[in-house]
Symmetry: C2
């Protein structure tokens, strides 16, 4: 049963009855279409919105910070100083941002299911890959540069939908505030509230060298969000695990979260101390450290939820109920009944496979851009020579533009920093598999992790864009001729890595997917099709209200103000407001609402989502959730789970008064 405000709804299946009953609001087709066209996805993992007819795009600072880092140097630090293009000519291209705007949803469930009917294991995966590639390819047609199509698995195999996006690869940085304002409070305040962050970035989509013309953008509202107001969030929640079986949740707890957190924690310590060695080390590692700390806190919140006996009890009860329903149904008992045990067996198989699979097949043992690049080049050479439907899915035609964008990025790579990450991950390889494991011996030989990392990074040329281009264009022959040590390593380990991936697909993934399809079928039979699917990094709408909550018996007010930021300022990072703020303080409307909390159901990936009112006008910019929202991976607790946003009024006020960006303010709100 969905609670009030619970739900990440696909735009073709909105909960109109509930909205009408609770708020006397029924979204029209035009309203829904404008929300869809005004929303955008950043392919790397965030959400965004179009906010002007000239392609201006709003997202979070932390969604564009990789670009800000990539454009910075030791002497020109946009993370620290912020960035503002006062004219369009000053807008600078981000090397790796791809924007996707959803244009069309097509149900392809029957095509996908027909293609895989009766198949298991490798045959199932092969057929599934092929039909997905074929459908995507037909959808893209000849418009490879501007169209992206993905087959989306909804309800864990209950439905397959084809999502067609407009693809923008020329995205330029327009404005970011200083990181000290965007991420005021730093890691200590992350996922906490009250909050005082101007976590915004403006970029602009270009097409053919000109600002993209956008007909359906989302206009800013006049006043922004008010207390208790009905608000909507359209964005791309990355992934939730609300409909998994207990066996899957136990794997997530033990391996994904506990194992993952332990490795992140140690890497975090390494990065913290590395950053203290000198200011340039701090600068080049801070983006990675932020990512690690952010993931750490999110995963820790998820683990806390999974260790909560109340959650466990509820999940067990839900699973037992669905299994009872299935067992009692003559249509389902024999076909679906065994699905839970089959998944549990696959999870046991995964526990056996996990270490080498994650380290070698997923590449966690080789944590450096150089290896990622090398593996990509090595595999692309072989995969691109195969027919589209027979390739590894990440090398199908529809995926290549994003991959090429990353591969040919002009972003700087810092060898000293790569060496720290790579040496660390090799050490973990040896620690986790043991000194005597054949794969450890193959990788390390008689060298120590540190020696190997230094040797490879000392002599690789993959940091050179021309070298990468030549290897990409030269195909298999160029790869085989290459003496680059990372190409040699990626080649040498590839047979083992591919074999482990096959094992995983055969023993685990295909079994889970096959049986999850069956469970989805039982759930539809039991509950109808009025539920929302787990998040899949595709466009969803969530509704909710501006509202605080009660923390340990004390009310938490939903709004903070600009004044609060000055009160919290200590002058020491991460609680130091930038000089621009201190200078502008006398002119600011200090009672302007700054950040606020709402009951919207969001999750990681929603960062940068627009928040709109009934009229489809922007009233806020999602950038975080409170600490309780992290349990949202597994359930939605309406008493405690809150989304956190920047108030639209604070965006206009600071842009105008602190940053003097008059032209942007006028572009966003022409009146």
């Amino acid at each position: 049963m969905a609670f009030a405000a619970e739900g990440m709804w696909t735009l073709d299946n909105l909960p109109t009855d509930r909205l009408q009953a609770a708020y006397q609001f029924t979204p029209t087709a035009a309203w829904t279409n404008r929300m869809m066209q005004g929303s955008a996805r950043i392919a790397g993992g965030c959400s965004a919105s179009f906010i002007s007819k000239d392609g201006l795009v709003m997202t979070n600072h932390h969604c564009a910070s990789e670009c800000v880092d990539q454009l910075s140097t030791a002497t020109k630090n946009y993370m620290q100083d912020g960035f503002l293009a006062r004219q369009r000519e000053q807008e600078v291209r981000c090397p790796e941002i791809e924007l996707n705007r959803l244009e069309l949803i097509t149900d392809v469930t029957s095509q996908v299911k027909d293609a895989t009917r009766g198949l298991q294991g490798e045959a199932f995966k092969a057929a599934q890959n092929e039909i997905k590639a074929t459908l995507a390819s037909a959808c893209i047609g000849k418009e490879r540069e501007t169209v992206r199509c993905d087959v989306v698995d909804l309800y864990h195999g209950g439905r397959y939908h084809l999502y067609r996006y407009h693809r923008f690869q020329d995205t330029r940085l327009v404005w970011v505030p200083e990181k000290d304002s965007a991420f005021f409070g730093g890691d200590p305040d992350n996922f906490n509230f009250p909050r005082f962050d101007l976590d915004i970035a403006l970029v602009r989509a270009y097409e053919n060298g000109k600002p993209a013309a956008i007909s359906h953008f989302l206009p800013f509202s006049k006043n922004g969000a008010a207390d208790n107001e009905l608000v909507f969030v359209t964005g791309h929640p990355g992934s939730t695990q609300r409909q998994l079986t207990m066996a899957q949740l136990d794997t997530i707890r033990d391996l994904g979260l506990i194992g993952g957190l332990l490795e992140l924690a140690e890497l975090r310590g390494v990065l913290e101390q590395f950053g203290k060695s000198n200011p340039e080390a701090a600068r080049i590692s801070e983006g990675t450290l932020f990512g690690v700390e952010n993931s750490y806190k999110a995963m820790f919140g998820e683990l806390t939820a999974l260790l909560d006996p109340a959650l466990r009890e509820r999940k067990l009860a839900e699973e037992a109920e669905l299994r009872r329903y299935t067992a009692a149904s003559t249509a389902l008992a024999s076909s679906v009944g065994p699905a839970w045990d089959a998944i549990a067996a696959a999870e046991q198989a995964y526990r056996q496979l996990e270490k080498p699979y994650v380290l070698i097949a997923r590449g966690r043992a080789f944590n450096t851009t150089y290896f990622e690049t090398a593996r990509l080049l090595v595999r692309a050479a072989r995969e691109r020579s195969l027919p589209n439907g027979q390739r590894l899915p990440e090398f199908t035609d529809g995926k290549l533009p994003e991959l090429e964008q990353q591969l040919f990025s002009s972003a700087p790579v810092y060898p000293a920093f790569e060496q720290v990450k790579f040496g660390f991950s090799l050490t973990k390889l040896r620690e986790r598999l043991g000194t005597d494991h054949p794969l450890v011996k193959q990788v390390l030989g008689r060298q120590s992790p540190e020696q190997l990392a230094a040797a490879l990074i000392g002599s690789t040329r993959l940091g050179d864009l021309a070298v990468r281009k030549a290897l990409w264009e030269g195909g298999q022959a160029a790869i085989e001729r290459s003496d680059d040590p990372f190409i040699r390593l990626a080649l040498a380990i590839d047979p083992a890595a591919r074999a482990l991936r096959k094992d995983y697909e055969r023993e685990v993934e295909s079994v889970v997917e096959r049986n999850a399809e069956l469970i989805a079928q039982a759930r539809f039979a039991q509950r109808g099709t009025g539920d929302y699917p787990d998040a899949t990094f595709t466009l969803r709408l969530s509704y909710g209200e501006v509202k605080g909550w009660e923390e340990a018996g004390q009310p938490v007010a939903p709004f903070t103000t600009l004044a609060g930021a000055f009160e919290r300022d200590t002058g020491v990072a991460p609680f130091a407001l930038p000089a621009s703020w201190l200078a502008a303080k006398p002119r600011l409307n200090l009672s302007q609402p700054f950040n606020f909390s709402t009951t919207n159901d969001i999750i990681g990936g929603n960062s940068g989502s627009p928040m709109v009112n009934r009229n489809g006008e922007i009233v806020g910019l999602i950038f975080d959730g409170n600490i309780h929202s992290l349990g949202g991976a597994f359930w939605f607790d309406p008493r405690l789970n809150r989304a956190v946003a920047v108030h639209s009024g604070a965006i206009l006020e600071t842009l105008s008064v602190i940053y003097g960006a008059t032209a942007l303010v006028h572009e966003i709100r022409p009146d």
Copy 2:
């Protein structure tokens, strides 16, 4: 039910029937007495044995490594080079090693239970502290320097025994090999097998400036351990949790292990990277890093065990069975029946208290020697002015000599390293309690963790022994006059720290102890008194056999040889044999057994324990367990759990051939 070889038996309650039945061996009183007198405890947390009439003591390198570190300097590195006193005059005093030899066990159960009868909460803790202090004090009498007495809580309140020890505080370093041999294989091989470590240290107990005369030492056997031989280990296992309730195990899993591991992992990363900044940084931090890595691996093994569904199932079944037995007994049902739920409620209370309790009351937020010293001085000033029975237990008369030894240690303290640890722990204080917690604000004020750490460490004088002495001797007045910033911090936080400790004792500890006493009573009623108690860092005997095991279907041989070490040598740490080994190789008996595995039931604290044969002759030196032994905290799995020891023959062979320590060899084995 105890499995074959399971058990850490107190020396007054040996499993003689089982030994006779399985091995036709019955320990005589003389045999048991010699084992007791030949065994020793290192008060800091290890085991040892007396191996000559002149006070020579054998333990592990890793049990004496803190001393080796403390005696080393930037130019005189005994960790790297090893240490050998060729004459007694060259033996150097270890600043902080206290040896204890058990001399007498007295049952004081009735005195302790009488003193606390009918009491709960604070009154219970106060009465318990007082009777323990009184009993210990009477036992010590006037021989404060050479006698130590502790009341030991066995079977979680089932029995209270008074242990009287001979105390040796003048312990001098005699011999350690190079760390590259003592800890060959380093962290990757730690808790693994096959193994090739000469993890031994020889120290000597002195009394009145002369080698202590030891009548009951343990002689070395001629040949050392043989395959399948019956062997005994006498040592001081630190702590096991085999008889706790499920609610207690859940707390250990969630807070102690997961929470503890995450913090250790991050600190480990910090230390690893700190050690890479320069060779001296590596030297001064390597002991701490070893401790962190060792604890990490041990705790990870414990967590793995607690996440094992088989263990959980067995524990649940055992608990259910004892509860059924209790409910069915008219004598126990009403008195003992509610004990499990009472403990569960106390564990829930602990979950609420845990963060500030661990950070502030246990001092985890202040991870620096300076703060430990400051808190100790601040509290000692007040506590020593109280009657013995009313003091915090760690300041009672019987505890003062060990405390003074640490406080007045000549061991060096390195401010730069202290600053790293302290800054890190302050960051965790803010992270775990949150920026706005009153205790965080009290500690940090408007400073960042790094600023505060730098400021305090920059101006403290507690590194100066004379300053510490003056503060100790000056009592409360000197403390109040002191402007040392760590004394000020410890004073300022003490009211909150003591209040949190009181909360913990009242809401958690006293409830758990009271109800554990009841459960122990039920267990005695059900099973008699023939069981062994959980480990308590007191002398225990374990019996077992020299034996390998099966790992994933493959047999693991119980012995390695000296030849194996040379085969594993790569020349790169931690797999680099020292030069002394390479030079001596041609003269070594390479087929000499080196390390070996046995079925003895041991746990952390047993490090350094002697392993003897039926005749009470040393055949090995415990230094580790295999990876499966870590689950021994909660259960004993006879198929997989193995202890790991250095073979006595390898000790004699290397001491003689590699290190040329002829006099020591002769002292150990005069024939």
